[in-house]
């Protein structure tokens, strides 16, 4: 709990790390205390089973929160008579039932699939005030990095680590290297946090952040809403970094105040006083520093099958020969074959048949507002066959409906769904058909990610909405004219 005795300048990451060291072993591995553990239905059943087989309990059920998200269909969950509608897929139903049974059996708070508070774990955590600055947060999901947007050291773990945290509330870790991504200047019109993080991933490459925790620094992040910060930190893993951080500030505190699980009264005051110390000290050193000029960032889309395959919307599909690394040339050719694209093709000429607005990256109210602003009074193009909007939580859904956003989407020909992970990874029935394209606000354009043979183009919510209107990838700045 005490910081290290010397007063040398520390990075934000070092401060959070040092505050969570239970003990450090001779080999440099530290036992790190975990403040918050989010559990969902896909990566937890085997962990609970292992606890049961070994006769172990959950050490701190009070620091654990379970919510189903990956498998849930996004169609209605309660019928007209008020009864729960069962999941038809037997395997998905079995995973949901396992979580419904494991949570109470181990004394863990559980948000039911039909509760208003249900949603994607990474939307629910900050929304409930479960995710707090300066905490360590883990979940069996790589996009846990998102919670770095409130200034938490948050990272994804495997199921064996889920078991380890359940049993001990700790993880055995080696301290990562630190990376600063310093962005200078301001983002141009129509350029969002999603465009910025896609640009950053393009600069770093999908392995550029491996072994590092990233801290995003610069005025552009200070000016951002917490929701935009969550979007940026969410995709840190797509650059290989297990965690991304943005220093908490008054914007963060205002966002968290009075959230249901956030501290109250004098605890809140003490917390804010501590949180104000959570910033990188002047003179602190990063192992790696990367400078980005915000003026270089355009509305950005992906062309390939790795999140590093980014191009400004005004650009063209690259030729494999344009890459210097021979293995990247080979990978690019394979990506183009899979994506059905030709080098030199203008990105704005690429037609899309599917639109997905959702995922832990972009399903918060600000994302839905941005998409609705583009779609208001417009109609989706005829070649767009399937277009769904999946809010990140039941509370986001309620808020959007109070603002009439659901009507905007429905009148534009999009479907308004129940919250969950949905077509980001297609574990539920929401999949992109083989050979078809999807303009998607999610985080991964991997081969088969949105369904076997699916072709994903990643982009911001406004850009996905623009693509819905025109039926092709579209520069949002042209739409606004």
């Amino acid at each position: 709990m005490t910081s290290r005795p010397d007063t040398s300048p520390q990075t934000l990451y070092e401060k959070i790390w040092n505050a969570h060291v239970v003990e450090t072993r001779d080999d440099g591995t530290s036992l790190i205390f975990i403040d918050r553990h989010l559990v969902h239905e896909v990566t937890s059943p085997q962990a609970f089973e292992a606890l049961r087989l070994a006769g172990r309990k959950v050490r701190r059920p009070d620091l654990t929160l379970a919510v189903p998200d990956h498998n849930l269909p996004t169609t209605p969950r309660i019928d007209a008579a008020g009864n729960k509608i069962p999941i038809t897929d037997p395997e998905s139903a079995a995973q949901l039932e396992a979580l419904e049974a494991n949570a109470p059996a181990f004394g863990i708070r559980y948000i039911d699939a039909t509760a208003a508070e249900q949603g994607i774990v990474h939307v629910v955590g900050p929304e409930q005030g479960f995710s707090l600055p300066g905490t360590t947060i883990v979940c069996g999901d790589s996009h846990t990095a998102a919670h770095g947007g409130v200034g938490a050291l948050a990272f994804g773990i495997g199921t064996s680590e889920v078991e380890h945290v359940l049993a001990t509330q700790t993880l055995l870790l080696k301290q990562s290297k630190s990376m600063e991504i310093a962005v200078t200047g301001a983002l141009g019109p129509g350029v969002t946090s999603k465009d910025l993080v896609l640009h950053i991933i393009g600069v770093l490459g999908t392995a550029g952040g491996t072994g590092h925790v990233i801290e995003y620094r610069g005025e552009v992040f200070e000016q951002m809403s917490v929701e935009s910060r969550l979007t940026v930190c969410n995709m840190s893993i797509e650059a290989g970094a297990r965690a991304g951080l943005i220093a908490p500030d008054e914007t963060t505190f205002a966002y968290l105040k009075n959230r249901p699980m956030a501290p109250q009264g004098s605890d809140w005051d003490k917390a804010v006083e501590y949180w104000r110390s959570l910033h990188t000290d002047p003179g602190a050193r990063f192992d790696t520093s990367v400078q980005i000029d915000a003026a270089d960032v355009q509305p950005t889309v992906t062309w390939g099958t790795s999140p590093e395959d980014v191009v400004p919307i005004g650009g063209k599909v690259p030729a494999p020969s344009s890459f210097t690394d021979p293995s990247k040339q080979d990978a690019a050719q394979k990506s183009l074959d899979y994506m059905g694209l030709t080098p030199g093709q203008k990105m704005t000429d690429v037609e899309v048949q599917n639109i997905f607005i959702g995922s832990c990256t972009n399903s918060r109210i600000e994302d839905l507002r941005a998409a609705a602003d583009v779609l208001r009074g417009k109609r989706k193009a005829d070649n767009v066959k399937w277009a769904i909007v999946v809010p990140g939580s039941g509370l986001v859904k309620q808020m959007a409906e109070e603002e009439g956003l659901d009507k905007v989407f429905i009148e534009a020909g999009l479907e308004w769904r129940e919250p969950g992970c949905s077509a980001c990874l297609g574990m539920n029935p929401d999949k992109v058909p083989s050979g078809e394209r999807c303009a998607s606000t999610s985080n991964r354009n991997f081969v088969g990610r949105q369904g076997p043979g699916s072709r994903t183009h990643l982009m911001s919510p406004a850009m996905a909405a623009a693509a819905a209107v025109t039926g092709r990838l579209t520069d949002i700045r042209e739409m606004a004219k």
Partner: protein, 204 residues
């Protein structure tokens, strides 16, 4: 976890870069509550192609996989490690690994061996026709042609792998240290106790 020592056998010269865990095991296969049987779905999109290396009978049951940079990137799904184990793969050799995959592999007794690209290229060549030996004790990869490449292993991970140790059991032995930490935490940072007013009951 079974102790890991020396593995000798054919190595699948896959070689691809940035192999993500969606490629190792697609999401449709994650709808299981077991760790078993995931080999059926392993590399499903690769195996859909004719003449793929995984269905080449020469490499049936091969215990070693050779890949390119950044193996296991993307999703944290430990199902990727379970799928490899179910295929019989207990060693992956690549120039680099994603952090989360490397951890998941270690927890399941899969050895991840990082070697420079030129050594990988040589092993890719050898493995087309001949077996490869990976030895944890000496931290070497050797071939029948006098190739001998050494690799780094974290000492703690080496100890756990060679002894087949249960990490949860090891940490539970540190119970008093964790309790001390919790006591300090509760005193110094009382706000870390989450409020429990949240309504999470079923609404149906």
């Amino acid at each position: 976890m079974k102790p890991v020592s020396s593995v000798e056998g054919r190595a699948i010269p896959f070689g691809a870069k940035n192999v993500d865990t969606d490629v190792i095991i697609p999401a449709a296969w994650l709808k299981t509550i077991s760790r078993e049987g995931l080999g059926k779905g392993a590399f499903e999109t690769v195996r859909a192609q004719d003449g793929n290396i995984f269905d080449n009978p020469d490499f049936a049951g091969a215990p070693i996989l050779i890949a390119g940079d950044n193996f296991g990137c993307g999703s944290s799904r430990e199902h990727a490690a379970w799928a490899l184990l179910d295929l019989g793969i207990t060693v992956v050799i690549a120039p680099s690994f994603s952090d989360i995959f490397a951890g998941n592999a270690f927890k399941n007794g899969i050895l991840t061996v990082a070697l420079p690209q030129e050594q990988i290229d040589r092993l890719m060549e050898v493995s087309e026709t001949d077996p490869v030996t990976v030895d944890l004790d000496t931290q070497t990869v050797t071939t029948p042609f006098q190739d001998r490449f050494t690799f780094e292993v974290d000492p703690f991970r080496k100890h756990c792998l060679s002894e087949g140790l249960d990490e949860v059991g090891l940490t539970l032995e540190r119970d008093s240290a964790i309790t001390d930490y919790e006591t300090r935490r509760a005193a110094n940072m009382p706000w870390l106790q989450p409020n429990t007013h949240i309504t999470t009951e079923r609404t149906a």
